[in-house]
């Protein structure tokens, strides 16, 4: 209980950038979930805890998404980190988008941060670029077995070339964002209950 209340108190004290600006109700909900996932009551989650979630095992990107909870090779994530990752998926409020203080960092649920989250799922080696190889790996995960490796390679080639503007054979984040500029990311990368 103490943990929860301390967590709940934090958002009030901390600047929103420090603690994800998730609403109180969502925080409570997330914290419940966090404790439910935390199998040994150890106060943090490790990979195993997330891997237990059945549906994630059949999600082609499940492992990568789990990895995104553990940045920089760490093996545990506390509630703050947990909520921080999920805060990416908060819906964008129309009124709020333009109004945040420019001095503060962008909110986690901004369009760019949503995109960045998706981008780092592709960019395994964290070099800021999606190489053809990385693209191929993602495709391999997402495309059914019925598509041959050869086809996959050609798809990967084309995908990279389509987005690649500076001709370096890889997709940088800006190029990535550009290919999706027509897409309503705010809508597509949001989950309502995280409001």
């Amino acid at each position: 209980q103490g943990a929860l209340s301390s967590c709940l108190r934090k958002p009030r004290r901390d600047p929103p950038s420090f603690f994800p600006a998730v609403s109180q109700a969502s925080l409570v909900r997330l914290h419940h979930r966090f404790r439910a996932l935390d199998s040994n009551k150890k106060g943090y989650l490790c990979r195993m805890d997330l891997q237990q979630i059945g549906a994630l095992a059949v999600n082609p990107l499940g492992d990568r998404i789990i990895d995104s909870f553990f940045p920089d090779g760490s093996h545990s994530v506390d509630f703050r980190g947990f909520a921080r990752v999920l805060a990416h998926f908060r819906p964008v409020e129309d009124e709020g988008t333009g109004t945040w203080d420019p001095e503060e960092p962008e909110p986690l649920n901004s369009r760019m941060n949503k995109l960045r989250f998706a981008f780092q799922l592709y960019d395994l080696d964290r070099d800021g670029k999606i190489s053809r190889h990385e693209m191929l790996q993602v495709l391999r995960l997402m495309v059914g077995v019925q598509v041959t490796e050869e086809q996959l390679e050609s798809i990967a080639d084309r995908t990279v070339q389509e987005a690649d503007e500076d001709g370096d054979g890889a997709v940088s984040f800006l190029e990535f964002a550009k290919t999706l500029e027509k897409m309503n990311i705010e809508q597509k990368m949001s989950i309502r209950i995280l409001k």
Binding site: N59, L86, V147, I155, D157, E162, T179, I191, I193
Partner: protein, 891 residues
Amino acid sequence: MLRAALPLLGLPLAGAAAEGEPTQEPGAPGEPPPSLALFRWQWHEVEAPYLVALWILVASLAKIVFHLSRKVTSLVPESCLLILLGLVLGGIVLAVAKKAEYQLEPGTFFLFLLPPIVLDSGYFMPSRLFFDNLGAILTYAVVGTLWNAFTTGAALWGLQQAGLVAPRVQAGLLDFLLFGSLISAVDPVAVLAVFEEVHVNETLFIIVFGESLLNDAVTVVLYKVCNSFVEMGSANVQATDYLKGIASLFVVSLGGAAVGLVFAFLLALTTRFTKRVRIIEPLLVFLLAYAAYLTAEMASLSAILAVTMCGLGCKKYVEANISHKSRTAVKYTMKTLASCAETVIFMLLGISAVDSSKWAWDSGLVLGTLVFILFFRALGVVLQTWVLNQFRLVPLDKIDQVVMSYGGLRGAVAFALVILLDRTKVPAKDYFVATTIVVVFFTVIVQGLTIKPLVKWLKVKRSEHHKPTLNQELHEHTFDHILAAVEDVVGHHGYHYWRDRWEQFDKKYLSQLLMRRSAYRIRDQIWDVYYRLNIRDAISFVDQGGHVLSSTGLTLPSMPSRNSVAETSVTNLLRESGSGACLDLQVIDTVRSGRDREDAVMHHLLCGGLYKPRRRVRAEKCLRHFISEDARERQDKEVFQQNMKQRLESFKSTKHNICFTKSKPRLRKAGRKKKDGVANTGTTNGKPPRDVGFQDTAAVILTVESDSSETEKEDDEGIIFVARATSEVLQEGKVSGSLEVCPSPRIIPPSPTCAEKELPWKSGQGDLAVYVSSETTKIVPVDMQTGWNQSISSLESLASPPCTQAPTMTHLPPHSLATEEPQAPLALPSDPLLSFAFPPSWAKAGRSRSESSADIPQQELQPLMGQEDHTHLSPGAANPPCIQFNKGGRL
């Protein structure tokens, strides 16, 4: 559905016509003994279908006329024009026949005109969008329609109580509720007709349109319940009847949907087995969908819902199962039928309005209805949206609400329903008919006219059409997976969770059951998009003027799968250069997958066919491309040119000899022999690319050539082309020369030369590449060396060019031709190479052939060599022209 229970009037047009026009029928009326008539006029036998066809024709012609003027159609929706046309036609008919004819009969409308429209909209409904907004759509369709019906009905009753409606309108509360139920439903036909031209954003469109489709169930139930209540008399209605009414709402809607899904399943399953009878595939789609409609109608369920669900449910599987042509056929037939039905509906609606016998005007009722439907629609939308926005990820803003309120058009469904009322039970029917007509006309014409400016004025987000890109498709899938995963992590089973579940279920069971195995195997959305993009690109390339081949040839090397040393280097070059062409090329390359092989073959065949007339142009193009390559390549080019010169010289001599000695058949033979010999010896394999390539002077080209074996086709053509290749100017000279020298048609230089030029590019086709085995390129037979030695001797006789060439060669060893390197030193000094070189190019081309003829070559080769040697020695005359050529080549 209720409508089914009503007497089916058959083809109303026909019926009306039968009554109305007994006109021309001069068969043989009075004469007792019917003698053999030379000419018989049997109007009656064809009357019904003839009239139907005529009306459709009139409607179609009207459409054409409307669209003659862009200005008119951009301002006025087609539906308005059609209704107005209907009014005019109705007036004419009334004036001529003194009687209203050809009206919109409910039976025709529900059984023939409505189904195609609904099927079209259901089948081509963007399912993802539809299900994403299903909550909102259902709310508006169910709650909204109920709200509209009850409030409008009640308010009209209140109006009557207040004395604002003339007392001659004899109607009670139930009558007004009945009227409210039929007037409240937003009409899919009208909405579709107007919104298709307005292009509001897709979310808005799908909500309004989805509502208009799904509210059919509610309308039907309300109408039926109210109608039966009116018939029973309000005194006899008991509590259980109300409960039954509510229950029937679920029966009708869920039943209709279930019927639709069952038929969708049947349809998908049937198309799985049509592999050998492709021709009936489109027919099946229409038949089973229509069967779904009729079945639902028969069971008094919501037929519109049934067809919508049928189209929505079957599309994915049907599209995967049926052939490409059938898909096109289905699409076009569906669109044609729907548009035809829509046209006829609006036109008949206009005609029907003319019949004043059905009318009974009451201003209070008409105005009251107009005000109430607008007001309650707006109020209902605002209230529901407020509730919905609590749950929606993307709230609907005020502008959306305005458009939704204003877009609630009423149409032919309401009209057909009101016509179906029984005058004996509903004494105020005539007033209701008049009111309905006014409401329909007002919404379609006034609102239809003004909604476009309104949308512009409010700056409603328009739909933006952008072609799907591979990236978008891929990332969209990624987002779906991410969201599903996040929902899992959060532990909330929301929309994404269930969609994910459904997709997995679909993949595991449904698709396997309903899709042809071959279709299932290759089915993948990302791949589909990729495939479609490729086809689109290929088409656009061809459209651009047939440069496809050349560009393909260029890029081919970029394909990663083929791995000869030379190739990889080329690919790297291309990659690094990052030329714009790369993308295109790549696209075309990709076609090589097993699934596309067939297509690829077809494509190549086509290209081959188209190729000839344009050869020259394309060749030039290619040259340009190559010239633009970087400096390194230029160096290679020069080296090649020099080599070529040498070869040319030697070649010339050989050619002359041949010409003199034998007529064309001979020549041919010789050429073949050479090829064969080359093939056997294998030495030439590495070289042929050079020979071919020298024309273009780009090393890259050469390497490509070696990989791809397309050259086969051209192989027969004379040795001559080599000379050509150096430069076009030279070619001309050469041509003349060659013609003079040899009378044989075979040798005719121009065509072969052109062909030669193209050869390298031609090789670009992915399929062909398969033939080129790495082995062939690698074989460097010992015989070659002997051949070279011989040629060297001849070369020495030609002394002049070699000295200049030798130094350059040494400077620039062709990097890409790794296999040839060892031989290159030998080749440098050698004109002899030239003599051999020709054959190699052929050999290359004819490689496939050479396999069959491989046994023969060795012996034949020898004589050939001898000849060549002779030629070298004997003709001094040959040398000077060669030199000239060289110059030209450099130029």
